[in-house]
């Protein structure tokens, strides 16, 4: 394989994409669609082929985390999950301490399947709850209700999972600060190790997008009610979010991520700190040997075992530094100056001093002798900060 040169024992993360779901949600623009059991079965077979092919070039690498994302990976049968994990184990050298996460839709699991996941070696579940209010779940187009989630959560604990994440969304049509607070309190009460809270992004090609843009003029004119919560309401939601999560002992460690002590998602931190990753499955992205590339997004091509890299981009030294900044600064601990030096052999302030000083003066960054990190306002206006580190400066 051309991405070739192998570094012994260097950490590597694996991402496995399962592009199937029971039904598309109203806000979802991921590469995912409903499919028949036969298609899923064939896909798993091809994915196993890819795992074996690609592992050959990186067999010496130390796999520190594995993430099954989708789509809805928990849609796979117990058997398929076991087989996939078995294939991965055979093909790669997996760190005994590796974090192995599977995304999970509460409407797709049973006690047996959860047990199979656990037995297969999965040690972390990311449960897509989105809201604990049934009316809101309907708005979002979710297939499950809150009761399904509660039973899923309980079964996961029973199956022995000690590292659970719950995904939530805020800022969607019909949601209020009050209903969001209620969801937060209910979720916190369950004491999950990790909570991700995403502000809704209306993506093109989703039902929400069409809904939002249809009648936009009439809404602006006040003829029909606005769909999205007002700015004031959203502000209230964010206040509730900060307050409730910190009251329950969760620490915000990234723009949208909160965790109990020591339970931050290692896989995602890998993305933000420049750890290399190999993406497997339809449309999956990889970053290896200073190149980013992705698999075909065309299912029929993928099914013909076309695993060749697409849209390959070579990251120059400058681009790597830029990304180290704009991804690293997503984390509230920021970018460590010595890490930057270790990685690039250059002094952070010499490379980005101008941007850092300007952003600090704007109240978006703070700089200490050790590190550079976002201020509270910087967290709100992260794009202004991130963009400043992209080519051509500010």
């Amino acid at each position: 394989m051309e991405e070739g040169s192998v570094t012994n024992g260097e950490p590597l993360e694996l991402y496995l994409h399962i592009p199937f779901c029971v039904k598309k949600c109203a806000y979802c623009d991921f590469l995912s669609a409903p499919a028949t059991d036969d298609v899923i079965e064939d896909y798993v077979g091809v994915l196993k082929q890819e795992i074996m092919q690609k592992a050959a070039c990186v067999s010496e690498r130390n796999v520190t985390s594995i993430f099954f994302g989708g789509g809805t990976p928990s849609l796979l049968s117990s058997m398929q999950i076991m087989e996939l994990m078995e294939t991965v184990r055979k093909a790669f050298q997996i760190d005994p301490d590796a974090e192995i996460t599977m995304e999970c839709n509460p409407g797709t699991v049973t006690a047996g399947k959860l047990l199979a996941m656990k037995v297969a070696g999965i040690n972390r579940l990311s449960i897509g709850l989105q809201s604990a209010q049934d009316g809101e779940l309907r708005t979002l187009g979710r297939i499950h209700r809150n009761a399904d989630f509660l039973s899923c959560y309980e079964l996961a604990r029973k199956a022995g999972f000690q590292n659970l994440n719950i995904d939530l969304i805020y800022g969607f049509p019909g949601q209020t600060a009050e209903s969001f607070s209620k969801t937060l309190r209910e979720v916190c009460g369950l004491l999950p190790e990790h909570i991700s809270v995403y502000r809704l992004i209306i993506e093109e090609g989703t039902p929400f997008y069409d809904w939002y843009h249809r009648d936009a003029e009439r809404r602006d004119a006040g003829e029909i009610p606005k769909i999205l919560p007002t700015e004031e309401e959203e502000e209230k939601m964010e206040q509730a979010l900060r307050k409730i999560l910190s009251q329950h002992g969760y620490q915000q460690y990234e723009i949208s991520n909160y965790a109990r002590q020591g339970k931050a998602c290692r896989h995602n931190i890998g993305y933000w700190t420049g750890v290399e990753y190999l993406g497997l499955g339809l449309g999956a992205s990889s970053m290896m040997d200073a190149c980013r590339f992705q698999n075909t997004s065309d299912l029929s091509e993928y099914m013909k075992e076309d695993f060749s890299p697409r849209e390959k981009i070579h990251l120059t030294g400058e681009m790597q530094m830029e990304e180290f900044m704009f991804l690293g600064l997503r984390m509230l601990c920021g970018v460590q100056k010595h890490e930057f030096y270790k990685r690039f052999g250059r002094d952070l302030m010499q490379v980005y001093g101008r941007q850092i000083r300007k952003l600090s003066a704007m109240g978006l960054l703070t700089e200490t002798t050790e590190d550079v990190r976002l201020t509270a306002r910087g967290v709100q206006l992260g794009n202004v900060v991130f963009a400043a580190f992209l080519k051509s400066g500010i």
Binding site: S256, F326, L381
Partner: protein
């Protein structure tokens, strides 16, 4: 030498859309100059822009030969005239080159204000006007009524006017025969000293300036030294010739009565002003032809390149356009907000729009245009008078004794049901009512004196929308009148933005200022801080809006598969910022500078 009796020099006059160009096409086609396959629709309107807008911007001329029913061959010189009030002077010079005019009137719409204006112009030039009723194929056509109207309103015989459809060609043959029988042959002594009227000129990169002229007396041939009587420019004739369809056909000589072109290695169209008289340098005529005047721009605006580095390109483009258009004027100016650009003068708003579009399309330039204004006369307390075209050059109010603005005599023709709303419109635009006369039972001619600056923005559109398209409008400059004018300044984040200032009638300042602030609030994106937008007159704030500070701007998600896409998104966001103008700490999008032009859009 052509036999004068076999020459017919004529033009076609019509209101916009009454079918002038279509009839011209038919005439060209039916006299055999071009087969219909060779005809691109509307040969005469040969600029893309002209075809798109359905108007004629530059006068075009075609010579064709018609074998009449009497068996004789006649030379037809069809001189097409520009079709818009902005180009009235050009129209008048084109008319002066003709001996007769075909008046095209739409069989459904009847006589319009512009038709009247053009007919009067033609009659002023002693042209024989030959009416033609067009579009008889329309279901709403009423040729009898229109014929009567032509007689009543214009006072010319119209009973034997050909009733045609230029579109289908029906009865166009009658038009050709009437050209022979109704339009007089040219006169003029071919042996007298040369006396030729310039009615247009264009620049050709190979031949230099090509002068379009009508030989009134004498003759001209290659090698002859000539002189332009008004500009004093002299040159030796290189080539004389006729106008083929889209091509120049050289000939040995042009003599009295003929229409053709002259090239004389003249480099600058400003040496060959429309309306000037060409004579022989060695044997000049005693008197120039009457009617010459220097055209002066009526409307001014600043034109700036969106990308400051394109300033030299913009200058080159303006210079090239000016080669063909002596009425376009420009001089360099600078703006604190927009950098280096040009203050440009135009005949009217249409002329401005045309130049702007040509710069953008033909020269591929991205432009920022400031609000158009007129030439104000500022009488200072020290007794001197200053002409101001750029609001930034207005002296301090304490130095101003009084100001004057240009006013026009406007004629509006409208059906009776819309008289009320049109009068309201004129009133709102500070019009002074002069008179109203019914030209027929249901149509009236309204006369108003209107300030020019009230009609340069959108008066024409307002007129159309308030009369469901039925009103028509024409104006001529009347002169200057004293007026209460103030400079309205716009402050963004407490900094005055020179490119947004404009001069306005004092009583309208508040309404315009408020509207302007509202508009800018929509155009200026949120920043990290709150941005006050204020309108001020003489340092006193009269309106204010606020662009709220940006609350949130952050990508909620950015994982392995998102990085490339999110990176592009951030880069795009950044690229958009680069295209904005920085005023103090505020980034202003280019189109905000144009928003003042659209103030009345949502009325």
């Amino acid at each position: 030498m052509a036999d004068q009796n076999k020459i017919r020099n004529f033009c076609i006059i019509a209101h916009i859309d009454h079918g002038k160009s279509t009839l011209a096409d038919r005439i060209i086609e039916m006299t055999g100059l071009l087969t219909s396959r060779e005809m691109q629709s509307q040969v005469l309107d040969n600029m893309d822009l002209e075809r798109e807008r359905g108007i004629t911007i530059k006068a075009q001329t075609v010579r064709t030969v018609y074998r009449a029913d009497d068996g004789e061959e006649y030379i037809f010189n069809l001189i097409d005239t520009p079709g818009h009030v902005d180009f009235n002077y050009e129209v008048s010079r084109s008319l002066a080159a003709c001996d007769g005019a075909i008046l095209v009137v739409d069989a459904a719409q009847g006589v319009e204000a512009q038709t009247l204006a053009n007919v009067y112009l033609a009659l002023d030039h002693d042209l024989d006007v030959m009416p033609v009723i067009n579009k008889i194929d329309l279901p709403s056509a009423d040729p009898d009524r229109v014929a009567e109207e032509i007689e009543d309103v214009i006072g010319i015989e119209a009973q034997d006017a050909p009733r045609i459809s230029a579109k289908t060609g029906e009865n166009v043959h009658d038009v050709l025969e009437q050209i022979v029988s109704h339009i007089p042959a040219p006169t003029g002594d071919p042996d007298a000293p040369l006396k030729a009227l310039i009615f247009d000129s264009i620049y050709d990169s190979y031949k230099g300036v090509i002068v379009f002229c009508r030989i009134k007396e004498g003759s001209v041939r290659p090698g002859m030294p000539i002189k332009m009587m008004a500009t004093g420019a002299t040159a030796d004739v290189v080539e004389t010739g006729y106008f083929g369809a889209g091509q120049f056909i050289p000939c040995e000589e042009l003599s009295a009565g003929e229409v053709g072109y002259i090239t004389a290695s003249i480099k600058n169209v400003s040496d060959t002003q429309v309306g000037d008289t060409i004579t022989g340098r060695d044997n000049p005529c005693a008197e120039p032809l009457p009617g010459y005047k220097q055209v002066t721009p009526m409307v001014y605006c600043g034109i700036y390149p969106a990308d400051g580095a394109k300033y030299p390109d913009l200058r080159d483009a303006l210079e090239k356009l000016q080669l063909n258009d002596a009425s376009l004027q420009f001089e360099a100016e600078t703006s604190a907000a927009l950098g280096f650009g040009f203050r440009c003068g135009f005949l009217g708003l249409l002329h401005l729009e045309i130049i702007q579009e040509r710069l953008e399309r033909e020269y591929n330039l991205d432009l920022v245009t400031t609000a158009p204004g007129v030439v104000y006369r500022v009488h200072k307390t020290d007794g001197t008078m200053l002409e101001v075209t750029n609001p930034s050059n207005l002296p301090d109010p304490s130095e101003i004794d009084y100001m004057e603005e240009p006013v026009v005599d406007a004629e509006i023709m409208v059906t009776s049901e819309f008289i009320g709303s049109i009068m309201d419109l004129c009133q709102e635009r500070r019009g002074i009512y002069q008179s109203m006369e019914y030209i027929e039972e249901k149509r009236a001619l309204l006369k108003y004196v209107l300030p020019l600056n009230e009609i340069i923005y959108d008066f024409f559109d307002a007129l159309k929308s308030r009369s469901r398209g039925y009103a028509s409008f024409d104006y001529t400059l009347k002169g200057y009148e004293r007026s209460k004018l103030v400079k309205l300044d716009i402050l963004i984040n407490r900094e005055e933005v020179d490119a947004l200032s404009f001069i306005v009638f004092a009583d309208s300042a508040y309404a315009r200022g408020r509207k302007m602030c509202e508009r800018l609030k929509e155009e200026i994106p949120r920043h990290l801080f709150e941005i006050p937008i204020q309108a001020a007159v003489g340092g006193k704030v009269i309106a204010r809006e606020t662009v709220k500070a940006m609350r949130k701007d952050v990508l909620a998600k950015c994982y392995g598969g998102d990085i490339t896409r999110k990176r592009k998104l951030l880069e795009k966001q950044k690229e958009g910022k680069k295209r904005m103008r920085q005023i103090g700490n505020v980034e202003i999008p280019q189109k905000a500078f144009m928003s003042v032009l659209k103030l009345d859009e949502d009325k």
